[in-house]
Symmetry: C2
Subunit: 121 residues, 2 copies
Amino acid sequence: MSKSRLALDPASTVACCPPLTAQPLSQDQADQIAPLLKALADPVRLRLMSLVASHSGGEACVCDLNDAFDLSQPTISHHLKVLHDAGLLDREKRGVWAYYRIRAEALASVAALVAYTPATP
Amino acid sequence: MSKSRLALDPASTVACCPPLTAQPLSQDQADQIAPLLKALADPVRLRLMSLVASHSGGEACVCDLNDAFDLSQPTISHHLKVLHDAGLLDREKRGVWAYYRIRAEALASVAALVAYTPATP
DNA sequence: CCCTAATATTGATAACCGTCTATGTCTTCG
DNA sequence: CGAAGACATAGACGGTTATCAATATTAGGG
């Protein structure tokens, strides 16, 4: 099943797919990448991603993230889990704190998908 | 009443937002762009988008799209409506047939969001 | 004018999702 | 050890979604 890409982390197998506009996606390709978009498709999770990404050092502690929202701590924890399970965030526990950081490869997969390659005449 | 077109001023649906990795998204920005991702975040709709985009002439008739799936005609019609309402597809009725085509600006909004602008040291 | 074919809409149902409260698991510190 | 703090997990609940069968709508052809 090796996709012959630069595999930095074995766990993710983050797809995969040619641009939407290049050729019809197979069902398998669509099934692989849809979960990534689904994980992103929530306002809270989008803000979490942007907070993590733009935090100094490229990582953010849950304690910082909780304060940015009017939501309960378990709710934020749930959203972080969704993003982590989708392969969009890495988690590292250091002492009592948990730090999250963007998985650039996963974002790149989405970017490749929605890249608009101009004309199909 | 039928609000089949909610905020369907096309210009307003093509947000909006800086790259995820550039700075924290405001809640308003997140609320604007999340629906686009939500509309995309389904395997059937991803395949519909890619089928439309890669069809000759840049447009596809529903009659062509139905045959590509093992789903009922109303289900495909529903997914096309979701994409249309999100501003991702344009619809044109010609005679008995309905033709859909990609709204490049909407896709570009998503592309801008997930674009990975390298390091924030 | 009806008949047929192409899409859209409606209404129902089962599955899923976001949120909360309550509780569990570690880790550190006194 | 035992208490406190940071985070995760479990379970419940209301709202949303994907799907289908049935029906409505519209357009073109006899």
